[in-house]
């Protein structure tokens, strides 16, 4: 197995050699990430699961979550894709500052985001006060507030993903479109957007997942009213104090949705974005 001169003993390739000192924390880390989820599955009351799932409260919360997360994602697409385009393609002074500002909600504690939203869109906030006085519209503690809270924390994920895709796209195709008579809007709609579609889809899925799991900003800005603003994460939290089994069932549903998202995202990434 070793060289005749003995200078280079046979050994596995360097990549497969991991020092024990690193292997132990690696396995501990893996266990730390996986065990709680396994625990959740293990504690699931499978016999009463169908009944639990069809309880009106569960379905209401799930329905509200899916609806608000979807609306929030659409809102993020409408606002976020142009914003990403601006950041990726238009050189302007202070672009780096703008990019940093866009990413702030990613690192900001969501509760702080909720407080900030309340201060601006609340009944006595700058914009909220005006909306109330002019149109008699109040946002806080409504489903609209849920959507806004979710959009606030989730949009950066979409913007970052789409901006990355736009930066990676070959702008010569846009020039080719221009020589064929396409104006900027047509070029964007028929050439740029389809070519960065994998990035947009990945960004939208991440955005949707983040919106679905939103808790802190939602409970601060939208409150916790069953049927109106009580989304799945809020319902889980509430159930935890009264009915542990219900909390487990609700958590399991969210876990399954998340795994499904991850699976779809993996396919997107492997099938689309890597080839562009």
């Amino acid at each position: 197995m070793s060289d005749p001169d003995g200078s280079a003993p046979a050994r596995p390739s360097p990549r497969s050699r991991l020092p024990v000192l690193a292997l132990v924390p690696a396995l501990l880390g893996l266990a730390f990430l996986v065990l709680p989820l396994l625990g959740l599955v293990a504690r699931t009351p499978w016999t009463t699961l169908p009944a639990r799932l069809t309880e009106p409260g569960v379905l209401t919360a799930l329905g509200l979550s899916l609806q608000t997360a979807t609306v929030a994602t659409v809102a993020c697409l409408v606002l976020g894709v142009p914003l990403a385009w601006l950041l990726a393609r238009t050189p302007f002074r202070g672009r780096r500052v703008v990019r940093a500002l866009v990413t702030v909600p990613m690192v900001l504690p969501p509760v702080v985001g909720g407080v900030a939203l309340l201060l601006v869109f609340g009944r006595r906030g700058v914009i909220g006060g005006w909306l109330d006085a002019t149109f008699g519209v109040t946002i806080p503690f409504t489903p609209a507030a849920v959507v806004m809270a979710q959009s606030f924390v989730a949009m950066p994920f979409l913007v970052i993903a789409v901006e990355g895709a736009l930066r990676g796209a070959d702008t010569r195709y846009e020039e080719a479109a221009a020589t064929l008579g396409a104006g900027r809007w047509t070029t964007f709609r028929r050439v740029t957007l389809p070519m960065v579609a994998p990035g947009v889809v990945a960004g939208a899925v991440l955005c949707w997942a983040r919106a679905l799991g939103e808790f802190g900003a939602t409970i601060t800005f939208a409150g916790n009213f069953p049927g109106r603003t009580q989304t799945m994460p809020l319902a889980v939290y509430l159930a935890l104090e009264t009915d542990l089994e219900a909390a487990i069932v609700l958590s399991l549903v969210l876990l399954l949705v998340s795994v499904a998202i991850l699976a779809s995202l993996r396919d997107r990434w492997l099938g689309g974005a890597t080839t562009t």
Binding site: R172, E175, A176, A178, L180, A182, T186, M195
Partner: protein, 363 residues
């Protein structure tokens, strides 16, 4: 859509392109008549692509003008600027740049759709052009499924579908492998000859230019060094670049009658009498090689060294070293008799009548 059909006698394109880009200055005049094919030839970095981009409207002129079919498109002096999408200039890009998410027919229909045609009408036009360039059967294929030659035809159809008064081709054959290249060149030649608008192609390959174009414009370092038809350019090249590619040995020097002192100090006796700056050119086949000093009295005889040997068609091309680096063509029989090999010493001779000298333009 229309309004500016090519008028006979009026140039399709009349341009004076001046572009300043960080230390590089392009300054060339180009004119293309309707139905004419003009090739802009030059080495990499000469400014060919910059010129093409300025004509397409992908780059603004610093000065000068672009007039197409009697209409100004870019004229910094008067502030006229027409963006690319309103120029009606068809472009075949070097890598074709077919939209990867659209099928061949959708790629070709893209232009008509942008210019206001309905979906059905655009597809009908696209289908007709695909048929014209001989790839109708590939209409539903995505660009990723096409070969280089097929993609090139689709790109040509896409550029021609609106019958633009000016067609631009950027290195139309560079992306193809040698096998498809010759076929595609012949094919392209056929399509260009039926295009009634002007055609301007840029290429670094003089062979493509000589075959495809009615007229050549040779540019180097952003300036036109020579302009004319194939016969003129090949007979009296004014650029090392062209000379090398048409297979001539070309030097600059100072003439005093039939004696020319080349810029490297070497003296040649030539066939034409001149005074002042000249180009000196002779064919590789005009060079004779000898093992020993030749008898008789050719005027130009000197000892030299063989730097390299390679096959060039039926002949053997011999690269000679100092004092006068040049290419010589000999038959394989002669080569074996002379026992030519890299590094061996030989005598070279060139008859004076075989060497042409002509005034260097703009030197």
């Amino acid at each position: 859509m229309s309004g500016h059909p090519p008028v006979p006698g009026q140039p399709a394109l009349d341009a004076h392109l001046v572009v300043d880009r960080g230390g590089f200055r392009l300054d060339v005049r180009l004119a293309v008549a309707p139905g004419e094919v003009v090739a802009v030839v030059g080495p990499n970095g000469a400014g060919k692509t910059t010129a093409l981009r300025a004509l397409a409207g992908l780059l603004r002129l610093s000065a000068g003008h672009v007039w197409l079919a009697g209409r100004p498109l870019d004229e910094p002096a008067t502030g006229v600027w027409v963006p690319p999408e309103r120029r009606r200039v068809g472009v075949v890009f070097q890598d074709h740049l077919l939209f990867p998410h659209l099928s061949a027919v959708e790629n070709v229909a893209f232009g008509p759709r942008c210019r206001g045609a309905g979906r059905r009408e655009a597809r009908r036009q696209a289908g007709e052009w695909l048929r014209r360039v001989g790839v109708a059967h590939l209409a539903r294929y995505r660009p990723g499924q096409l070969s280089g030659g097929q993609a090139q035809r689709v790109a040509l159809a896409r550029a021609l579908v609106g019958r633009p008064p000016l067609l631009l081709l950027d290195e139309p054959l560079a992306a193809l492998d040698a096998g498809t290249r010759a076929d595609t060149r012949a094919e392209l030649n056929r399509h260009l000859s039926t295009h009634d608008g002007g055609t301007l192609l840029v290429t670094h390959d003089p062979l493509d230019a000589l075959i495809l174009a009615d007229r050549l414009v040779v540019i180097e370092d952003g300036r036109v060094v020579q302009e004319g038809d194939a016969a003129t350019i090949t007979a009296r090249p004014q650029a090392d670049y062209v000379a090398r590619l048409v297979g001539l040995n070309l030097y600059r020097g100072d003439a005093d009658g039939r004696t020319v002192v080349l810029d490297n100090g070497f003296k040649l006796t030539v066939g034409d009498a001149n005074h002042g700056r000249v180009f000196v050119a002779f064919r590789p086949s005009a060079v004779a090689l000898h093992r020993y000093p030749p008898e008789g009295s050719p005027r130009n005889v000197w000892p030299t060294r063989i730097d390299g040997l390679h096959h060039h068609g039926d002949t053997l091309r011999v690269e000679l070293g100092p004092p006068l680096p040049l290419s010589a063509d000999v038959t394989p029989q002669a080569a074996s008799q002379l026992r030519l090999a890299p590094g061996s010493q030989v005598w070279a001779s060139v008859k004076a009548v075989e060497i042409s000298a002509y005034p260097a333009g703009g030197d």
